[in-house]
């Protein structure tokens, strides 16, 4: 953990009446620093910065969908398959990504570039199907848009 992040976490602790409230932001910061996921080392660092146990940090991190306790790719592609998106054809979009990337939902490509996963309602139901790429919403995204989006993602490097 960088000293800056440690300091940032101390600031966050002071922002709340009780310092534990900072754990969610602290985990998010640590996750960004560790390439998008939270290895045990990251949980120890957060525990140290918050004066709590790593077990507690693990308990919190494992509760929420946006903390990853396994390695993820450089890019996160999330396809909503909840009711409204499903009705709008989300499965075809998911299939298109799976086909292009050569992985099943929940998996990361061998080159470590892309993780593909299905997610629950992202709050874009009016512009379904919704795909979230690196926290940016793409709505609607159709199967035919998938190759172009991936190309753009790859091209960004």
């Amino acid at each position: 953990m960088t000293p800056q992040t440690y300091e940032r976490i101390q600031e966050l602790r002071r922002k709340y009446p009780q310092s534990r409230s900072a754990v969610m932001d602290a985990l998010r910061l640590a996750q960004t620093e560790h390439g998008g996921w939270l290895p045990p080392e990251a949980l120890r660092e957060v525990a140290d910065a918050l004066d709590v146990t790593p077990a507690y940090c693990h308990s919190i991190a494992s509760f929420y969908d946006m903390y990853h306790l396994e390695p993820v790719g450089k890019h996160m592609v999330e396809v909503c398959t909840n009711l409204s998106c499903a009705l709008a054809g989300a499965q075809a979009v998911l299939d298109a990504f799976a086909h292009e990337l050569g992985v099943r939902p929940g998996e990361t490509t061998d080159d470590g570039e892309m993780t593909l996963r299905a997610i629950e309602c992202a709050g874009g139901c009016g512009r379904a199907p919704v795909v979230v790429v690196d926290h940016v919403y793409h709505e609607p995204l159709r199967p035919e848009d998938v190759p172009g989006l991936l190309q753009e993602l790859r091209g960004r490097e």
Partner: protein, 440 residues
């Protein structure tokens, strides 16, 4: 304001960029705050009560009445918490408030804080709304720089992906740095809430309506909508409609009008099959049941709930058994796991629905499905346990023929052509698969 189509919550968002403080002011923004601050706090709350502002988060509990329950003289601070954890399937109205008119929410927070004697506001915003967080953060900074906060601190707290954190007490737990699991009630948040202190917790859209109530006055506000539910609501229409999106209309607007006139009717010339009027967590309505007004009392009389006013429209290409399964997979994924009936029941229902959908069920499985629903309903620690039941129980009740066709015909009568055939659910990504129905 167009008397025929009053826009309150989203007023000015079509014509202006209300993320900018100067533009928000240009449409009269923060005038209501000024007026409110000149009033006694109780007068502000009286106005909100007189307006019968019903919570827009789903329960419809009157905001003024909630605030009147706040414990006084405890020696602890009073907190205001804004529930911006919008995660109900089909709902996307709060998102528009956050990203298009953040200052209206901030103004609502400051007016309410004044009314309840709070100097500490927390806005819990769902983690996925990254852009909306940025907009809110910038708007807050502008408000702070402009000296509008007046000694009130507003903390933006980001969630991290858990539907259950939209439940009031689970939100408070999450905000306190615990796992987002609900608390038993009583005690209720107005007595023992955030950090054990008296807490007013309201939905984004509820609070964002407060400036307009102060601006118009309760009497004018009450002319819009219906007596039991004045004002407007933002209806989120999605699914198989031609023009899905958010539409702000007075409460009491007929459901049929919202589907056919406002949202353009069923897309692609298909037939309407089902309407889920309040987000996935409410009982489904058949086409024969949609002649009801959209307000809390009317929709309840029609056999469902207003919920988040998230209207999901389903056409005749969709298998209702698959829809029930997909819904239940959501609840299984989102169950916090604290209480027995929800943690175990959601999984059991997914297993049963999977078995039935795949054609391996028999008639007794339909009875068992009903039985498990009965055993879950009204027994869990929070409403999620009930929400997990309503889709399954109501689809089974109103589309029983389709369920029977699955068991009698040993498979889906759509034969693979259902519009949501093979939809992959997030729970299917976990290993081992807890919804396994076949013995190894």
């Amino acid at each position: 304001m167009d008397a025929n189509n009053p826009i309150l919550l989203m007023a000015g968002t079509q014509e202006h960029d209300l993320t900018r403080l100067d533009e928000y002011r240009a449409v009269g923004g923060y005038k209501a705050l000024e007026r409110a601050r000149a009033l006694e706090p109780q007068a502000v709350m009286d106005e909100i009560s007189a307006a019968t502002l019903r919570g827009r988060g789903g329960a419809g509990f009157p905001m003024g009445r909630k605030a009147s329950l706040l414990a006084k003289g405890t020696g602890k601070p009073t907190y205001l918490v804004i529930n911006a954890d919008e995660s109900e399937p089909g709902a996307f109205k709060d998102r528009d408030v956050l990203r298009m008119t953040p200052h209206r929410l901030i103004e609502g927070c400051l007016i309410t804080a004044h009314g309840i004697g709070s100097e500490s506001v927390f806005i819990y915003i769902r983690g996925e709304y990254a852009h909306e967080f940025d907009v809110m953060r910038d708007a807050l900074e502008d408000a702070r720089t402009a000296g509008l906060l007046g000694g009130v601190t507003i903390v933006l707290h980001r969630g991290a992906g858990a539907y259950i954190c939209g439940e009031e007490t689970a939100l408070l737990e999450s905000l306190e740095g615990q796992r987002g699991q609900p608390r038993p009630r009583p005690p209720f948040p107005p007595v023992n809430g955030l950090y054990g202190a008296p807490t007013q917790i309201n939905n984004v859209s509820t609070i964002a309506l407060v400036p307009k109530i102060i601006e118009l006055g309760a009497a004018e506000f009450s002319k819009i909508g219906v007596p039991s539910a004045p004002g407007t609501a933002v209806f989120s229409l999605s699914g198989n409609v031609a023009e899905p999106g958010n539409y702000e209309r007075p409460l009491g607007t007929p459901l049929r009008e919202l589907i056919y006139d406002v949202a353009g009717g069923i897309a692609g010339g298909r037939e309407l099959k089902a309407v889920i009027p309040g987000g996935s967590s409410v009982p489904v309505l058949t086409p024969a049941e949609i002649d009801t007004q959209m307000d809390y009392d009317s929709i309840q009389a029609a056999g469902s709930f207003f919920g988040s006013a998230a209207i999901i429209v389903v056409d005749d290409r969709c298998c209702m058994v698959q829809l029930a399964l997909r819904a239940e997979q959501f609840y299984m994924h989102e169950s916090c796991g604290k209480c027995t009936p929800c943690r175990v029941g959601t999984r059991w229902l997914v297993q049963l629905l999977t078995k039935i959908e795949e054609g391996r069920g028999d008639r007794s499985d339909l009875d068992l499905l009903e039985g498990v629903c009965d055993r879950m309903l009204g027994k869990s620690l929070c409403a999620l346990g009930d929400f997990a039941v309503y889709p399954v129980a109501s689809y089974l009740e109103k589309y029983r023929g389709e369920f029977e066709a699955h068991v009698d015909g040993h498979g889906c009568p759509f034969g693979g052509a259902s519009s949501i055939e093979g939809t992959f659910a997030p729970i299917d990504q976990h290993a081992p698969n807890l919804a396994e129905t076949v013995h190894a």
